[in-house]
């Protein structure tokens, strides 16, 4: 019988009648093996393993970590990084990089608070402030996209330039942290609906939105753009428009993260979000997305961001000092990426032998 490591149903059906019980089990085994193979070769496999390991470890170190209250609080605190990382993933999949997310976060934060305070603070004013914040994010992303895609500036440097500009603008709008938004923001943001935290619902809705984007074919085109931009151009893809859109999505997600921070802190801070650019890039890389662009996914990014946050918790509950927390964070990222690099290297080699007709036994 033909060896089948992928488990093609058509062949299985054909031979169903005369197949004995023993061979059926064998095929089931092969199916399971094939499923495991596809699972272990998912880009986010490593992040998932680390995540599970950390969760088990945390369970041993601190039982109360799994109280409902703690978990809902944690998700709320993780939200900004999760959202920024999701936005960053779009840009990196398209072969770019967005260093400006950190100060954009501060800029949107400040704009939302300032607009609301200058209007008065009624319900409609709050909605206008939110819309102003989201528009700022989209527009900032649009400018980044314009610089990178249309003016062909290197992404790292040009988004660093815009990072400086947004930071200056944020400081210009608000010199120091201050101002306030109605406390209902915090109440809404930290509310739970049938036991499910509101922030988690936002995240799930956003993931559904990303799934919808996948259905429209945008993500495939964007990945094509990031994998080989000249090939994408020659396949008549609107390369520039795709990349601009990726930066706009990053801006939008960053604006949403800023709204989360406003709701959490109920105040404006022109220096909030520092360090988010590097942290989000690390999270994306941890999630198995190639920084060269073209390959990766969003589930990985979420797992990567959570792993980054969990490292701190593990070290904290283990009773080690802040210094160890920092050290562990750096070392774990390096180790995880080193192992991940070796895994992809192996799977690449295997892919090559399969192409040459060697095949797996």
């Amino acid at each position: 019988m033909r060896r089948n490591s992928i488990g093609q149903p058509s062949i299985l059906k054909k031979h169903k009648k005369w197949r004995s019980k023993g061979s059926k089990m064998k095929i089931n085994k092969q199916k399971a093996k094939a499923w495991m193979h596809s699972f272990t070769h998912k880009p986010y496999f490593l992040a998932l393993i680390i995540l599970i390991f950390f969760f088990i470890l945390l369970g041993f170190i601190e039982r109360r970590y799994y109280s409902l209250y703690n978990l809902t609080t944690k998700i709320r605190l993780w939200m900004p990084l999760l959202l920024v990382t999701l936005g960053q993933t779009f840009v990196i999949l398209g072969g770019g990089l967005d260093m400006s997310v950190s100060t954009l976060l501060a800029l949107v934060n400040v704009i939302v608070v300032q607009v609301m305070m200058s209007l008065g603070g009624g319900p409609w004013h709050q909605i206008i402030a939110i819309i102003a914040g989201l528009t700022t994010g989209l527009f900032a992303g649009f400018l980044n996209g314009l610089l990178v895609a249309h003016l062909r500036l290197p992404p790292l440097i040009s988004t660093y330039g815009t990072q400086i500009v947004w930071g200056g603008l944020a400081l210009r709008i608000m010199h120091q942290s201050g101002g306030e938004v109605p406390f209902t923001w915090y109440n809404v943001y930290s509310a739970t609906i049938i036991g499910i935290p509101f922030s988690l619902i936002i995240l799930v809705l956003l993931m559904l939105g990303i799934h919808f984007l996948k259905r429209t074919g945008y993500l495939v085109k964007l990945k094509a753009c990031g994998g080989n931009i000249h090939g994408a151009y020659e396949s008549v893809l609107p390369v520039n428009a795709l990349r601009v859109k990726s930066y706009m999505l990053s801006g939008l997600f960053t604006a949403l993260a800023a709204l989360c921070i406003v709701a959490e802190t109920v105040t404006g801070n022109p220096l909030s979000g520092s360090g988010y650019e590097l942290e989000s890039i690390s999270a994306v890389a941890l999630g198995g997305t190639s920084l060269a662009g073209g390959a990766g996914g969003f589930i990985g990014s979420i797992l990567g961001a959570i792993v980054l946050k969990l490292i701190n918790d593990v070290i904290f509950f283990a009773g080690l000092g802040v210094n160890y927390q920092v050290l562990a964070q750096g070392l774990i990222i390096i180790l995880a990426l080193a192992v991940g690099g070796q895994l992809t290297k192996q799977s690449q080699k295997r892919g090559v032998t399969m192409l040459r007709g060697g095949g797996e036994q």
Partner: protein
């Protein structure tokens, strides 16, 4: 009859080289600055700006080598390595002139080793340079905190201060170091086999490896050199500052060193560029900052202007190829 047109074309080519544009911009800023506040373009002030620029220029030297080596190379750990260099130098020398040479050796060994770790991660474990060096900088800040333990670090010894800030013919010592370093790097790139290998690797690493260049070893060494240069710069920076006032004193060098390289006309793709351009780039960046301080505007406005000017400069010659070509 052909001669004039050839001369004109050559002149056009020279004017279009990035480092010449940067130099012209420097002169323009000096000129405008002098109009706004007389004395801006005086020798003394230019030397002051050069002194501040020299540290960026030195750090950019290592960054320049890595970027020249291609493969999306980049070192974002240089800022923290500068801090580490200053702190290790201070701790080992304990303000004694006699210990200075040991301090320098310690700085070189420690930072070279950390740079090599960067290199191993990038070449042998295939970690993207951006993330590898960034994570390394997290590790380095932890090491710094372990060394200092939250307590102050001994400052610079007298001799170290005299070497860096003390003046010979009215020019501070650090500028002599920078000039020597510039000549060394220029010589290294243009007149040695190492330089040829480096440029070949940066242009196309596959063909370079076919031609017999050990690409992974070369790139690993580059990261080591970059770390070492950053560490020694930190050591000299300690002499300039006289004391370590906080443990983030080097952080500002991280991205500005990359920018100085790009403003100096080296493409981030690698394989093309000159250190003279980097020197001009570092000077231009510092000049811009001094200029923005001189025209007396608010700090937030200054920051915005700095970002916008930076984007304009990169727009002028840092652009990628057109899709159609």
């Amino acid at each position: 009859m052909k001669n004039p047109s050839i001369v004109a074309r050559q002149a056009k080519e020279i004017i279009q080289t990035p480092s010449v544009i940067a130099l012209l911009l420097c002169i323009l800023i000096l000129f405008i600055g002098n109009l706004i506040s007389p004395g801006f373009a005086s020798i003394g002030l230019i030397i002051n700006i050069l002194v501040v620029a020299s540290f960026v220029g030195l750090v950019s030297g290592g960054q320049f080598l890595i970027i020249l080596g291609g493969g999306n190379g980049l070192d974002l750990s240089v800022g923290r390595l500068v801090t580490l260099g200053a702190i290790v130098g201070g701790v080992v020398s304990q303000k004694q002139d006699a210990n200075l040479i040991f301090a320098l050796l310690a700085v070189i060994v420690v930072t070279f080793a950390l740079g090599l770790v960067n290199g191993f991660g990038v070449t042998f474990f295939r970690i993207p340079p951006l993330v590898m060096t960034m994570s390394m900088s997290i590790v380095i800040i932890a090491i710094i905190r372990f060394i200092t333990g939250g307590i102050g670090v001994p400052g610079a010894s007298k001799l170290l201060q005299r070497i860096t800030v003390g003046k010979l013919f009215n020019i501070p010592g650090i500028l002599y170091f920078w000039a020597l370093f510039a000549i060394f790097i220029h010589f290294l790139i243009n007149n040695t086999t190492f330089g040829i290998k480096l440029l070949a690797t940066g242009t196309n690493d596959y063909t370079a490896s076919l031609a017999g260049v050990n690409v992974p070893r070369l790139r690993t060494l580059l990261y080591g050199f970059s770390g070492m240069i950053a560490g020694v710069t930190g050591f000299l920076y300690l002499g300039y500052l006289a004391s370590v006032y906080n443990i983030s004193l080097g952080d500002k060098f991280t991205l500005i060193s990359v920018i100085a390289v790009v403003v100096g006309g080296t493409s981030l793709g690698g394989g093309k560029g000159s250190y003279i351009g980097v020197v001009i780039g570092a000077f231009l960046l510092q000049l811009m900052e001094s200029f923005l301080v001189t025209i007396r505007i608010e700090q937030s406005m200054r920051q915005m202007l700095f970002g916008i000017i930076l984007l304009v400069i990169i727009f002028m010659y840092g652009r990628g190829r057109k899709m159609q070509n």
